[in-house]
């Protein structure tokens, strides 16, 4: 058997990581299924050089101390009946940060997933078979040992939630359907066979939180959660908050050191600005996911999570006014991304025209520039003989408003009249899904999947059909090939290069700002210095401790 190209490099990295600090639980379901509220994760908060490491103020060099209660915010009420733990809607993301874990996870380097609940994760040479062996001695919070049956149940649940009486948000996982067969070899070892050679299953297993079937009814009722992660649910009070206590039997304790905290109190806030005020009033030790305007007040306390995608202006290619690529190029060059980054994003993340995060194999440093040249944009527009018989509509949701106003100004400066149209979120999503927008639209996009082909093929903004009606032969060719090649190989690199060129030469999406996440932590909070890529933008809670 050939070791996974990801996994083979993993061991060296794990040695380097040994003793480096604590690890974190869970996995977010990006890429696996659609999230309940993408706005939240790919919204207007702009982003920077995300490498997986938090951009953090210097922390103390004291040895970590056990004890203390960490007070933090939780965005909205948990949604435990909508497909969690394989669908991780934004209100639930705290759970894979603390409670649930997948078989593997990604730290900074997406080429090297870290073995989390397994000690073997090997593909066959032809990529049609995967052998997985569970680590010995891993137990759930209720003391039950982790078994292959739990992995099988988690896959079954992700594939057919209806069978378990669950109405999920989003679409059931398509990748789970690739598993054509499975076999329990012994109490720890499983073999999976796939429908065809597969390069995209590593990402699937990295987002598959492992859950026990016996614990499902209590989870759906919001009474108990049973995972393998560093913290255990103590109490959930709907509308009020969630408390967690440490899992003293955490399988990574010896290696990583944590969990250090005696207790975590996550208070439910539905409004980020209220969380910012509570942080300012010292009611909270950490406030997660603040808008730039609020984070600005605590600039020296901000931790920046790696960016995962961005906000973009979609251009409907079938619209005769936008059909000429030069018109769309003009739009691309007309947007003042520097201004958006500074005025809307408060300068936390630099301007970029790129959707790929820095850790992605498809990342192109050349696209990490503002690409702002109004003179060139005007010239392109003239060459195309652009004319319009009406203002072009720009539907958008509340979160994008500030960026849209800049876009309107930028486009009018080169002679394109626009009509921004604030739209209610559910209506916007519905219209977008039905591909009914005819001019422009402003939406968010998550490109965080460690395997670029999964990000492209599963993304409704890019896959064919897409909302922009972009179906050029070049895009078709790229999408047809990209799922069949090694995501780290030379062939894939060439496809990424061709795709990124389309971004400039035949654009249907113009990136406005990257989306990251801004968290703030008080002086008491130590060890908050790492974010995982998978689970999605998760802080490493295994390392976090409190000063006395």
């Amino acid at each position: 058997m050939e070791r996974d190209t990801f996994t083979s490099r993993m061991l060296t990295r794990r040695r380097l990581l040994a003793g480096a600090g604590a690890a974190m639980a869970g996995a977010a379901a990006f890429g696996a299924v659609g999230c309940g509220d993408d706005d939240d994760d790919t919204g207007s908060t702009p982003a920077t050089a995300g490498t997986g490491g938090a951009t953090a103020p210097a922390t103390t060099t004291q040895a970590p101390r056990k004890g203390g209660t960490l007070r933090m915010n939780q965005t909205g009420d948990l949604q435990l009946n909508a497909g969690y733990p394989f669908v991780v809607a934004p209100p639930n993301r705290i759970l894979p940060w603390l409670v649930h874990e997948p078989l593997i996870r990604y730290r900074k380097d997406v080429r090297n997933p870290e073995l989390l609940l397994v000690d073997q994760f090997e593909y066959s040479a032809d990529r049609t078979k995967l052998t997985v062996r569970l680590k010995p001695g891993v137990t759930f919070h209720d003391g039950a040992p982790l078994t292959p049956e739990d992995v099988f149940f988690s896959i079954d649940f992700s594939l057919n939630p209806k069978a378990y009486g669950v109405t999920i948000s989003g679409t059931p996982s398509q990748l789970a359907k690739a598993i054509a067969g499975r076999k329990k070899v012994d109490d720890r070892t499983m073999e999976f066979t796939f429908d065809r050679p597969r390069w995209d299953m590593t990402g699937y297993f990295a987002t598959l939180n492992i859950h026990r079937e016996a614990s499902l009814p209590k989870m759906l009722a919001g009474e108990a959660l049973n995972g393998t992660g560093p913290y255990m649910l103590e109490k959930y009070t709907p509308g009020v908050g969630i408390t967690f206590v440490p899992n003293r039997n955490w399988h990574l304790s010896a290696q990583e050191g944590g969990p250090y905290l005696d207790r975590i109190e996550a208070r439910i806030f539905t409004d980020e600005s209220a969380a910012a005020t509570a942080f300012e009033a010292k009611d909270l030790d950490v406030a997660f996911r603040l808008p730039g305007a609020d984070a600005r007040r605590f600039r020296d306390r901000v931790r920046k999570a790696p960016r995962i995608g961005g906000l973009f202006l979609g251009m409907v290619v079938k619209n005769p006014m936008l059909a000429d690529p030069r018109v769309r190029q003009a739009v691309f060059w007309a947007i003042d991304r520097d201004r958006i980054a500074k005025e809307v994003g408060e300068g936390f993340y630099p301007a970029t025209a790129q959707i790929w995060p820095e850790y992605s194999p498809a990342y192109d440093p050349e696209l990490d520039k503002p690409y702002y040249d109004p003179a060139k944009a005007k010239s392109l527009l003239q060459q195309a003989g652009f004319s319009q018989d009406r203002p072009l509509e720009i539907p958008y949701t509340q979160r994008s408003e500030a960026s849209v106003l800049v876009v309107k100004e930028n486009l009018e400066a080169i002679g394109i009249k626009t009509a921004p149209k604030l739209t209610e979120t559910a209506v916007f999503i519905n219209t977008l899904r039905q591909r009914q927008y005819g001019d422009f639209y402003v939406a968010g996009m998550n490109f965080a999947d460690p395997v670029p082909s999964s990000a492209l093929l599963n993304n409704f903004n890019v896959a064919i059909p897409n909302q922009a009606y972009q179906e050029s032969p070049e895009l078709k060719d790229i999408l047809a090939k990209i799922g069949t090649v090694d995501p780290l190989g030379e062939e894939a690199k060439e496809l990424y290069r061709r795709f990124n060129r389309l971004w400039v030469e035949d654009p249907w999406i113009a990136v406005l700002e990257p989306s990251g996440a801004l968290d703030v932590a008080s002086d008491r909070v130590q060890g908050f210095d790492e974010y995982f890529i998978v689970p999605l933008q998760a802080p490493n809670f295994g390392r976090i401790w409190l000063k006395a």
Binding site: G34, C35, G36, D37, D38, G76, D77, L78, Q79, L80, N81, A82, K162, T167, S169, G170, T171, L220, A221, G222, T237, P238, G239, V240, R267, I268, F269, T270, D271, A274, A275, T277, A278, E280, A281, K282, D283, E424, T425, A426, V427, I429, N430, L432, R433, Q434, A443, N458, N459, F460
Partner: protein, 312 residues
């Protein structure tokens, strides 16, 4: 009196039905539905249709409303679409924080408003002018502005009071009062100001009555005239206004509970509307409607006790 109460309670039933039906229809007319929000932007129209079917949203409006009403009669408010929990439990959990808030704000607002209004009417002159100016200011400044200022001063600058959250008063009186102080103070300010204005007008009018002049002519002490002979008749119209103000407190709680992140009914209502969680919105509407009915009934009873002519 029992007949009076029974008649008022019976009259409130159509009001409840109308209010809930109105909300049901309004939510139906607003574009977008919970299935679309749940499905996310990547879901296919087929998947949205499936979710709609699973949630029972594809049934006719009146059928759904009828089922909901039948459930209400059995004490079942349905299941929250966004949380998958019984609405009854969610509403029950949120009632405590709002009741505490309403009671505290009403007590402070009524005491301050009636007290200040009476003082204005009795004292007159420059004091009356100063209090009137303060009352006008308190009425004209929106609650969320007052809340923000109070937060900035007492929670952030002085660090005396918490900016958010709720501690149950019965389990921890001191902690509870600390979390109550700012939201209750915010709501009490506008209620007190309105009541002060009405009380002043009402007491001033009573003080000009013939029988008050006669009492003064008989040499009764001014304090006795004010407290025993003026306040009781003056408070009859004030009680009606106070009842309306308590109703307004519930509306005010929608905003104030958001600002202070107090997990009450107002907070729950805003979250439910955002998520198009129709059963939860309906549950909250029932609570609001019942609260309005009860508060108005209480005001009518108080007024009837104060003025027996009103019982007819």
């Amino acid at each position: 009196m029992a007949v009076f109460i029974a008649r008022r309670l019976l009259a409130s039933i159509p009001l409840l039905v109308l209010a809930t039906l109105l909300v049901f229809v309004t939510l139906e007319l607003v574009p977008g539905d919970p299935a679309e929000l749940l499905a996310g932007e990547d879901a296919t129209p087929q998947r949205v249709a499936e979710i709609r079917h699973e949630l029972g949203l594809d049934r006719p409006l009146l059928v759904r409303y009828g089922d909901w009403l039948a459930g209400l009669l059995r004490g079942d408010l349905g299941t929250s679409l966004s949380r998958g929990m019984p609405v009854r439990d969610l509403v029950r959990g949120a009632l405590g924080p709002t009741v505490e808030l309403a009671v505290a704000a009403s007590a402070v607002g009524m005491a301050a408003g009636i007290g200040l209004g009476t003082l204005q009417a009795a004292a007159g002159g420059r004091l009356d002018g100063w209090i009137s100016a303060a009352v006008s200011l308190a009425i004209s400044v929106p609650g969320f502005v007052v809340a923000t200022v109070l937060l900035w001063v007492f929670a952030i600058q002085l660090d005396w009071l918490p900016a958010s959250g709720r501690v149950p008063v019965l389990s921890d009186p001191l902690g509870g009062l600390r979390t109550l102080a700012l939201p209750a103070g915010t709501l009490a300010l506008s209620m007190g100001a309105v009541l002060a204005r009405f009380t002043r007008g009402s007491v001033t009018a009573v003080l000009q009555q013939e029988y008050i002049r006669a009492a003064r002519a008989r040499g009764l002490p001014e304090r006795r005239i004010l407290v025993r002979h003026s306040l009781r008749p003056a408070l009859v119209p004030v009680l009606t206004v106070a009842a309306l103000q308590v109703g307004n407190l519930l509306t005010g709680a929608l905003v104030i509970e958001q600002v202070f992140t107090r997990p009450g009914i107002g907070y729950l209502a805003v979250t439910a509307v955002r998520q198009r969680d129709i059963p939860l919105v309906q549950g909250v509407v029932v609570v609001f409607a019942v609260a309005y009915v009860l508060v108005n009934l209480a005001a009518d009873l108080a007024a009837a006790l104060a003025d027996p002519r009103l019982r007819q």
